[in-house]
Amino acid sequence: MPMSESSAQSAAGASLEDRQKAAREQLDAHTYEIVQWHFHESTGCPFWLEKKRELKFDPLTEVKGFDDLKKFPLFEDDWLRGGPVRRWVPKAYADKPIYVFETGGTTGVPKSRVVIEDHWIDYELFSHTLPDEYFPKGSNWLMLGPSGPRRLRLAVEHLAQYRGGICFCIDLDPRWVVKLIKKGWMEHLEAYKQHCIDQALTILNAGHDIRCMFATPKLLDALALALEEQGTSIPEIGITGIFSGGTEFTPQWTRYFVEEMLGGPPEESGVYMTPTYGNTLMGLACSKPVTAEEKYKITYYAPQPRAVTEVVDFKDPNQLVGYGETGRVKLTTLTKEFFVPGFLERDEGEREPPYEAFPWDGVSGVRPYHALAASTTVGVY
């Protein structure tokens, strides 16, 4: 999130270089604190305490800053499949109410992440980046995204509540959507999408005074087209703030949606749309404001120091690429609830330099990692 707390706060008004330095110091100190927490017998979770025995170094004495995390092997998300899920709960939180959020699971065992309050904290921080003019405090929200054992559904609801509003949700099973695609049942896919849009239209037309929403790009597109068919539009129905996310959120899609479905930039249409990037492991990276002047370029910044995104060499995940260069997205999560020392995402993008609001590295042009995308097309004609 933008620098607004602790040591970063003291750097306010300083040069970008000073702010970068302060942010880095904050990250190193935070890394030390988190590693101490997860690897100390009194506070750590069974998984990491067990893993510690396999490591050829002692995290408690040999991790002093962020760069020392390279000593860990890359995090494998397969470790998150199956039980007992309590092995991921830090001892210090053993008596707290625990949520479990799942990712994947269309076939086989999904990956599970335990959460206590991280999803609230992440979305409260995100809330501070939203302009109140377009996301008015106290206004109601529509969550047009996945339901079920998903972090996103509860996180968006909390975001609405944190901002003083109430969140309306739809039923949407993303695993069924993936099955429909795999089976090639495109008519059913279309019908299911329509089922989701029908639910959204019902809520929007029911007098709940909804002003803000979360939606995936595809559903947002479908909703806007459905509203057009009813002779109205997203601005006309009263929506002023939208946040969305995913690799489908491309500059071209954003341009199309802003120009053709919203009726122009926020100052003309009255609707502000912001992309986000994240997952169950990391939380939520938010975007530098997206403008026509910058050709709708989308650059994401992780909520440091709780999470870090790096763009690394395709062959050497410990080597950052140069600014503007392409590499694989590597995530690191550093919260007291969850520790991920470097996870290679299934995405690639370009490394972006720090800027005033986010004095640390960002990533732009996020898209599926080309090597994984190519392997699914070879042999097909």
């Binding site: 279309e190 087209l225 071209q252 053709e260 190519a374 070879v378 042999g379 004609y381």
Partner: protein, 482 residues
């Protein structure tokens, strides 16, 4: 290098997403092609009716006259493409550079498209079985036998998700304009050339640009086009055909599995037919769905396979600009190798013999592309897995199978050439629903008569023959031609 925009009802639109199309052999940039997102297509399709309304300002005869002029612009003219101009030789060079097809074949395909445009009145006459096209234009009218008939257009436009590998398929969508239906095309990623050049030729000939939309893009664009056009064609593999089977909105064109069947009555004279068999396998680099991928006979199969191997096995890879080049490059990385590995797996089966093995390696890998040289395989049984395979290069199996089992064993066959004079067997072939186009006699599978419907009649796909009754007064007015 050309910048090729999306065309949205005749208007160019430059996308922020651009695909760099490069020369398959050298990597030289050939074009930057704007990529459409699905939402744009779905939104534009709201205005599809305007395309048909614009075309209904012209009579079918007038439109066909313009198509004849467009044929000349397409085949001989220098026309605007994106931010540049394109002559016929530049077209052939560019199409060859991105698809891997030899240039002389690109020029030959131009002639094919031009021929279809020029002969549109004959083609539509045969597809409609002699119906007055004004009946399609108005939606109803009196047929020559004095009966009121009605044909209702099921869509204001014809959509098509086009392939990259076979420029010949474009003939299938060309009649749409004459039928007063707009065109909504998603060009193949490596073959934007024909749709764009064709649109330019149409516009030069006086067809309003606002009846065309061209949406280069990825799978999402294809899905959006199919979802939003009430009638659309798609070209793909077996899985694509299966996916859309029974969907009245989509006409799916897949692999052809075209075959030549030699009857017991003529098979002893097989040498007489060797030329036409080789032509059916090899012409147009073996890329088409109408190329023969299986030769079936009850005897002499090994000799036939040997003779075909001697004829086609020595064919070498030549540069695309060489007028003698007979093979097309595989420009998608890894595809040729993956295909060859599939063939090698099938060759391990008992009773399967690779007849072209002695003519050198079939897989020829170059720095940026690969080729597969002609491959002939003998199967002593129709049960061999490879007997049902088709690949995008001159590849054929010669399969030994008793004549009485042949029809049941061949499976789906887009073009079936049956060389026989056995009338009883011909009757069975005529009744065989697994054969789409049936050639009786020594006709290469690749020689299409344009006056015959191909893989489903376009008129049946686009129009519904329904009941329409008129009052006596209206009938009289119609009869008087008022």
């Amino acid at each position: 290098m050309l910048n090729i925009p999306i065309i949205r009802w005749g208007k160019p639109y430059e996308s922020l997403e651009v695909d760099d199309v490069v020369h398959f052999a050298t990597g030289e940039p050939i074009a930057k092609v704007s990529q459409a997102n699905g939402g744009i297509i779905q939104r534009d399709m709201r205005k599809a009716k305007a395309a048909r309304d614009a075309l209904r300002q012209f009579s079918p005869d007038d439109l066909m006259d313009r198509l004849a002029k467009a044929a000349d612009h397409y085949a001989e003219g220098t026309v605007p493409i994106g931010d540049g101009q394109q002559s016929p030789s530049e077209f052939a060079h560019q199409q060859s550079a991105t698809t891997g097809l030899p240039e002389h074949m690109c020029l030959a395909n131009m002639k094919k498209n031009s021929f279809v445009l020029k002969h549109m009145p004959d083609i539509l006459d045969s597809l409609t079985r002699g119906l007055d096209l004004n009946i399609l234009a108005r939606g109803y009218g009196i047929e020559s036998r004095g009966v009121v008939v009605s044909y209702q257009a099921q869509s204001p436009v014809l959509g098509a998700v086009l392939p990259s590998n076979s420029p010949g398929v474009h003939t299938l969508w060309l009649p749409a304009i004459a039928l007063q239906l707009g065109l909504v095309l998603k060009p193949g990623p490596q073959e934007p050339w024909t749709p764009y050049r064709m649109m330019s030729a149409f516009v030069e000939a006086g067809i309003p640009p606002e009846v065309f939309s061209l949406y280069p893009g990825g799978a999402e664009a294809g899905a959006a086009l199919l979802a939003s056009c009430p009638r659309a064609m798609i070209f793909g593999g077996t899985a694509t055909v299966e996916q859309y089977r029974g969907n009245p909105r989509v006409q799916a064109h897949g692999p052809g599995f075209s075959k030549i069947l030699l009857g017991d009555d003529i098979v002893d004279d097989w040498e007489q037919y060797l030329d036409l068999i080789a032509e059916s396998i090899y012409i147009n680099a073996g890329r088409g769905c109408i190329n023969c991928s299986g030769v079936w006979a009850s005897r002499h199969t090994r000799e036939i396979a040997q003779a075909l191997a001697e004829r086609l096995g020595p064919v070498e890879v030549l540069p695309p600009e060489d007028p003698n080049a007979g093979l097309a490059a595989f420009t998608v990385p890894g595809m040729a190798k993956a295909i060859w590995e599939m063939i090698e797996t099938d060759l391990k089966e008992d009773g399967v013999t690779h007849m072209t093995a002695e003519y050198g390696d079939r897989l020829v890998e170059q720095e940026r592309c690969a080729y597969l040289r002609p491959t002939i395989v003998h199967c002593s049984s129709s049960q061999a897995a490879i007997a049902k395979k088709e690949y995008m290069f001159p590849f054929a199996t010669v399969v030994e199978c008793p004549q009485e089992k042949m029809i049941a064993e061949i499976g789906y066959t887009l073009v079936g050439t049956a060389i026989t004079n056995n009338e009883a067997w011909i009757d069975q072939l005529v009744d065989a629903t697994n054969i789409d186009r049936l050639n009786i006699g020594p006709i290469p599978t690749t020689r299409l008569n344009w006056l015959q419907p191909h893989e489903g009649n376009l008129i049946d796909f686009l129009f519904r023959n329904r009941a329409l009754q008129l009052s006596e007064e209206r009938l009289e007015v119609l009869k008087r031609g008022e």
